[in-house]
Symmetry: C2
Subunit: 284 residues, 2 copies
């Protein structure tokens, strides 16, 4: 497979830098082709602005979505954005790797999303009418590809658990996994999360590296988070509300948008689980 890692840490000699190298080596050892967009090293521009849209007259009002649509359709996006779009089209798997800063991605990576996920490419795709609200959430130009996050957090796993004060990690990452990755069509794998990242000793690093290698070896076979497809019949159109009664017992909020799947336990029993994501966070 072809794998693109978008890397967003300012220091190559960081834990993130080391984990990136572990991932790249394991992927290449498995015979995959790997490319890395190292945003700090590339000097990535984070801000959507007039410079993104050369066709926009200097005195015209900048409406970012309309300008993005025009630039994508006319092939006049800037060279740095076009290069990233080419990489996304090339890759079978996209990995976003970043330290969790203020419960989300660093600005430079948000700026990569804001600028590269153009109108007509990552949103505004397909028919928009009272019958169909576009090709998104499971459909779109990136459908058929896989994506996953590699995230380091300074806090403890307990602080990000179901009752932890920060909120559950899977819900904190929902705006990224569902809103940024599933939206343009990616199948989203459970995230790889490292906790107490600033306190990791050598033994902890080795164990973490081995967990990461295992995730790299299973990129093609890991089950994606079973988000519901927008156009699969579960949602009312155009209100885009989940139809009544489809959810598993007790699900509210983000968990409504994850299908109940049958899971086979190691003991051979079949049980019903809410999501693969919760299980992953517990082992990440």
């Amino acid at each position: 497979m072809k794998v693109l890692i978008v890397f967003a840490h300012p220091e190559p000699r960081s834990l993130n830098g080391s984990l990136r190298d572990v991932a790249v080596r394991e992927l290449e050892a498995e015979g995959h082709e790997v490319r890395v967009s190292d945003l700090y090293a590339q000097g990535w521009t984070s801000e959507v602005g007039r410079a993104d849209f050369p066709l926009l007259p200097p005195d015209a009002r900048l409406a970012p979505a309309a300008a993005s649509k025009q630039a994508f359709e006319s092939g006049t996006l800037t060279a740095d954005v076009k290069a990233e779009i080419e990489k996304l089209l090339w890759a079978d798997v996209l990995i976003l790797q970043f330290p969790l800063w203020w419960f989300s991605m660093p600005a430079i990576l948000k700026g990569w999303v804001d600028r590269v996920f153009a109108y007509g490419f990552a949103y505004g795709v397909g028919e928009h009418s009272d019958k169909r609200w576009g090709d998104r959430y499971g459909e779109g130009r990136l459908a058929g590809k896989r994506a996953m996050l590699i995230v380091t957090a300074g806090g403890w796993q307990e602080h990000y658990s179901a009752r932890g004060i920060n909120g559950p990690i899977d819900d904190l990452l929902f705006p990224i996994n569902h809103g940024i990755l599933y939206y343009p069509g990616y199948d989203v794998l459970p995230p790889f999360v490292v906790y107490k990242a600033d306190k990791l000793d050598e033994a902890g690093f080795q164990a973490t590296a081995e967990r990461l290698r295992e995730r790299m070896r299973t990129l093609a076979t890991t089950s994606p988070i079973p988000y519901r497809r927008q156009n699969g019949g579960d949602y009312l159109i155009p209100s885009m509300r989940l139809r009544a009664g489809l959810e598993h017992s007790g699900a509210t909020s983000f968990a409504l948008h994850v299908e109940q799947v049958e899971a086979r336990s190691p003991m051979g029993e079949t049980s019903s689980v809410h999501s693969t994501a919760e299980g992953c966070a517990a082992t990440a």
Copy 2:
């Protein structure tokens, strides 16, 4: 009162620009002092990087949290960051205003948070031990001040409702309201949200502007979202898990961290409600 608006839209002639002007005029008419940090106009730098930490030797490994701590303690943060910190200390109320891009804030505003919310100022404050996990979530250097979001979204309100496909707006904003604003101590007011922002006609704008003026007139009296205080006894330390049985019926995930409050209905009856935030989103 003193009010700081941090504004993150590249076009002054946008809906966001118009709403900012409405807010400023109303606040000034009420006798408040207003300052605006217009991030695009200021040419704000979004990326945390080596340039933030002049004391760091060129060959030293950059550990962002440690470097931030050293720079804050030694007074060597960069002039642009120091100026924003001064404004935050000056203001009684902080308003973050932005268009919702990919279910979060634009990169330039995330970069304002990443760079201005320094270690020792917005995090890493207070005793950290097995008995106390710092002054945060309701305590910290910004305690006693108020904060709120002004957000525009292209999608429909239904798409951001309890069963809407994007996820409920209050949960999408939780990483910002709870994780960025409540964390260093702000009392966080329910957000002001505008939906179908790209389709607003003149009548819609006038109605929206009047709703916003009302929110500006009630800045001092609006009840904050009743997030639970970390050090108020609701959480186990150091696991920082919510104690069993404290939550209102059916609450999971982010909603666990909002206290049940008694509300008096317009008919004089007392009823129990989960959060003021849900009600606000319905009227925003």
